[in-house]
């Protein structure tokens, strides 16, 4: 890995790329939001209420046969999917259908799936609880973003906070994009993925901003802002890439070896972390440049903060 043991610091022009990165990210975010408005989120039982059954059928029946059999026996709507294994199925239906007679419905399901069918997991969530979970999930995300915004505001100053927040929002939307575009089930673990992405993205951004502040203290007005920011990003590049590499590697291992549940949990975090790294380098810092430039403060307010530098 010789590129990581760099004897000299690279000098890529990240700020210069900003039109491209703003453009691509902007389009990405807009399209995700658009599809979100049109199609909504594919909520899981956690947030919508209902019943989910995970069935293992050693006979490995065909999905279509099962679907027809179901529609004959059960009155309401049941959605049936296969999982990665040919003998594993996910059956989902509304709670009212289930409440009528739980034991009967369960044994009917077992019969439909053939000999030796086993219900490996059952989750039944009433509407009260599902509404609460959705509420607390969204509140959690809101407060987390708020807390992190204040944190950066407190540690640096408002331009940094704003730039970091935009990058944060961008990353969170990217993670939600997985659910919106990929139609992956949006359950409570999705909220966890969004929060972890937020934490990680802030992490990355703080490291770069720390270095910006340090360099301001060191070079002051003698270096133009664009060069200063570029230098800061380039100096921290090897750290940013390496950390992302190790965390992503750990997550990839989880994704491939951890089994279905862990994989479904790791995928959104994987996406979040990758996008988070990208946004800290290519979005947050250019945004900071644009904000400072637009308000014309290089050498003004920003310099006063260098008192806080290490």
């Amino acid at each position: 890995m010789s590129f990581l043991n760099l004897k000299k610091v690279p000098s890529l022009d990240f700020i210069g790329m900003r039109l491209w990165t703003f453009g691509i990210s902007g389009i990405g975010v807009l399209s995700i939001l658009l599809v979100l408005l049109m199609n909504g989120l594919p909520y899981g039982v956690d947030f919508k209420g209902g019943v989910i059954l995970e069935v293992r059928a050693p006979n490995a029946p065909k999905l279509d046969d099962i679907r027809t059999a179901f529609s004959e026996v059960l009155e309401g709507d049941a959605s049936i999917q296969t999982l990665d294994d040919a003998q594993d199925f996910l059956v989902r239906f509304d709670e009212d259908l289930f409440e009528a007679d739980k034991e009967e419905t369960l044994s009917a399901v077992r019969k439909l799936f053939g000999k030796g069918a086993d219900i490996r997991r059952m989750e039944s969530v009433g509407p009260k609880v599902s509404n609460e979970l959705l509420g607390s999930g969204l509140t959690a995300v809101f407060f987390a973003l708020l807390a992190m915004l204040f944190y950066i505001w407190f540690r640096f100053e408002w331009r940094y906070g704003l730039a970091a927040l935009c990058a944060l929002l961008h990353d969170c939307i990217a993670v939600v994009g997985l659910y919106v575009l990929g139609r992956v089930e949006f359950a409570e673990t999705a909220i966890v993925a969004v929060l972890i992405t937020a934490a990680y993205s802030i992490n990355d951004t703080v490291v770069i901003f720390d270095r910006v502040r340090e360099n301001k203290g060191r070079y002051g007005r003698s270096m133009p802002l664009k060069a200063l920011l570029n230098l800061s990003v380039n100096e921290t590049l090897s750290r940013t890439l390496l950390t992302s590499l190790t965390t992503l590697a750990a997550l990839l291992v989880l994704y491939f070896f951890g089994g279905r549940v862990i994989a479904s949990f790791s995928l959104p975090i994987l996406i979040g972390l990758s996008v988070g790294t990208y946004s800290s380098i290519c979005l947050a810092t250019p945004l900071l440049f644009w904000l400072s430039d637009a308000t014309d403060v290089h050498g003004g307010v920003l310099n006063q903060n260098s008192k806080k530098a290490v």
Partner: protein
């Protein structure tokens, strides 16, 4: 760089690791490899890993208040009569009791009557109509005690059913969480927990055939109750009747002291019960006054049995025979022993994980974590060589201490928690990356070896603390707003990060400096 500090650190670490090792092995294997005195608390697995049932129950406040006012209405009638107050149209609902005064002048007596029942009752009057209800605080206080009592009753029932280590907790103002690990038949647990099991002895006034019962209107002091459908095939005929019983409860289930399943002279299952002093007295009086008449044993508004009183029963003991199967007799005595739920419970949420799925997840999760550690170690070595090795050792120690800490703290390991461990490990490495990068920079800037090391660790500290702090904020919020498995993730992540601040910084630093002093190298392999 003082020797004493380093020694202390090393000793602390070794202690921690040694204490944590049994937890690492898992409950079964630990006993085989480690002697008794070395054992420590084991990791607690969440339901999603060990399989089991999770129920979220809620006290039915509406029904609870309806029952409360119903009971109160009976006492109110008596109290009003005592004060010489004539009343009409006493109606109890879940919001309170309404009644009408025949004579407006007796309003004061009415107030007295109500206050004599319960001084907290609020009375509103509109001409002849009176309304009586409890204020909100009193209702909430009733709810709280109902929640508490429900929890205890559930605990008794679940304990008796022989489940090991159930988790029963209150949640919020009116909810109860019940977790039964490794449950083979969660349906039975649900049934045991779901029945209110209110037992009462009431006098039977009349027995009607089913079709007669459809059109029969009982007078206000009576009610129509139906027999419990029997699972036994030999008693189909007896299901087609209805009982007209007195509303008044002669003996209630709260007066039971014991109930056990037994067999009658025909070897049919039955339930023998024993009443307490008050119950025995009441029962004696009732049986003396009503010898020769039938009385109904009612469970949750269904008649289990309606025997005739052959003779006065003064000993407070009796037998309920009622076409039970053995299982039913056992369940009934269990319910009677544990007492009635103060109010019906509704199931808000129910999750059952089969043991197969749980074991699968543990196995795959363990392997994935092991491979992840190997991969991360490899990357660190390739990037930083010797210092990468220091970081890797710190990482492994971190992992062991994390599991040990979780075991000692009694924190629950859930499936997301396993992912949390892997995430923690990835982030723990970050601290070392920051440090090593700084060291490289300082060396590039021309500093001496030791100065570079020193400055590297120092300068990186603020950034490390910053980044860990933000992640801890995220984990904290997750803990506050999340459910069980998510909380497991938050706890695992937090403990992991806190430990990593120790291992990644202090431990690797100690190793690095020890190495320098021992080897005195000219060049740093970094």
């Amino acid at each position: 760089m003082i020797k004493k500090n380093q020694l202390f650190l090393l000793a602390l670490t070794i202690c921690g690791v040694l204490l944590s090792l049994p937890a690492l092995m898992g409950p079964g294997r630990a006993l085989r490899y480690f002697p008794g005195w070395w054992q420590g608390p084991q990791l607690v697995f969440g339901l999603d890993l060990q399989g089991g049932a999770h129920l979220l129950l809620e006290v039915d406040k509406t029904q609870m208040m309806a029952d409360h006012y119903d009971l109160l209405a009976g006492s109110l009638r008596k109290a009003l009569r005592k004060k010489g107050c004539r009343y009409a149209n006493v109606r109890a609902a879940e919001s309170g009791i309404k009644f009408e005064l025949v004579d407006e002048g007796s309003a004061d007596h009415a107030y007295d009557a109500v206050r004599s029942l319960d001084s907290e009752l609020v009375i509103t009057r509109n001409g002849k109509s009176m309304r009586v209800a409890l204020p909100e605080e009193a209702v909430l206080s009733l709810l709280a005690s109902a929640q508490e009592k429900s929890m205890e009753t559930i605990r008794r029932r679940v304990d008796e059913s022989g489940t090991k280590e159930p988790l029963i907790q209150t949640q919020g103002r009116d909810r109860i969480v019940l977790q039964v690990p490794g449950a083979d038949s969660p349906e039975r647990v649900k049934e045991l927990v779901g029945r209110t099991a209110r037992l009462s002895f009431q006098l039977v006034k009349n027995v009607l055939a089913l079709d007669e019962a459809q059109s029969f209107v009982p007078n206000p002091s009576e009610e129509i109750l139906f027999p419990v459908p029997s699972s036994r095939s030999d008693s189909a005929n007896e299901d087609n009747i209805a009982y007209v019983v007195d509303r008044e409860v002669l003996v209630s289930g709260s007066m039971l002291v014991d109930a056990q399943p037994s067999f009658d002279q025909y070897n049919q299952p039955q339930v023998s019960f024993k009443l307490n002093g008050l119950g025995a007295e009441l029962f004696g009086a009732v049986t003396q006054k009503n010898t020769g008449r039938p009385f109904a044993i009612v469970l949750d508004s269904e008649v289990i049995s309606a025997p005739r009183i052959n003779e006065p029963i003064l000993g407070g003991q009796g037998v309920i025979s009622g076409r039970f199967s053995i299982q039913e007799a056992q369940d009934l005595s269990l319910l009677m022993r544990s007492g009635a739920l103060p109010a019906p419970l509704t199931v808000l949420e129910e999750r059952v994980i089969g043991p197969g799925l749980g074991a699968d997840s543990i196995q795959k999760g363990t392997m994935a974590t092991a491979v992840a550690i190997v991969v991360v170690v490899a990357i660190m070595f390739a990037a930083y060589h010797l210092f990468g090795t220091f970081a890797s050792i710190a990482l492994i120690v971190n992992f062991v201490l994390l599991l040990g800490a979780m075991a000692y703290l009694g924190a629950t390991l859930t499936l997301p928690g396993i992912a949390g461990i892997a995430l923690t490990l990835g982030m723990a490495v970050d601290a070392n990356v920051l440090i090593n990068e700084r060291i490289k920079e300082e060396m590039r800037a021309g500093r001496s070896l030791i100065a570079a090391l020193d400055m590297g660790y120092q300068r990186a500290m603020t950034t490390i603390v910053d980044s860990n702090l933000t992640t801890l904020i995220g984990a904290f919020i997750l803990y506050v707003f999340g459910s069980g498995p998510v909380r497991g993730f938050a706890v695992t992540l937090s403990i992991g990060i806190l430990i990593s601040m120790f291992t990644a910084v202090l431990l690797s630093r100690a190793m690095a400096f020890a190495w320098i002093r021992y080897k005195r190298p000219k060049v740093l392999w970094i």
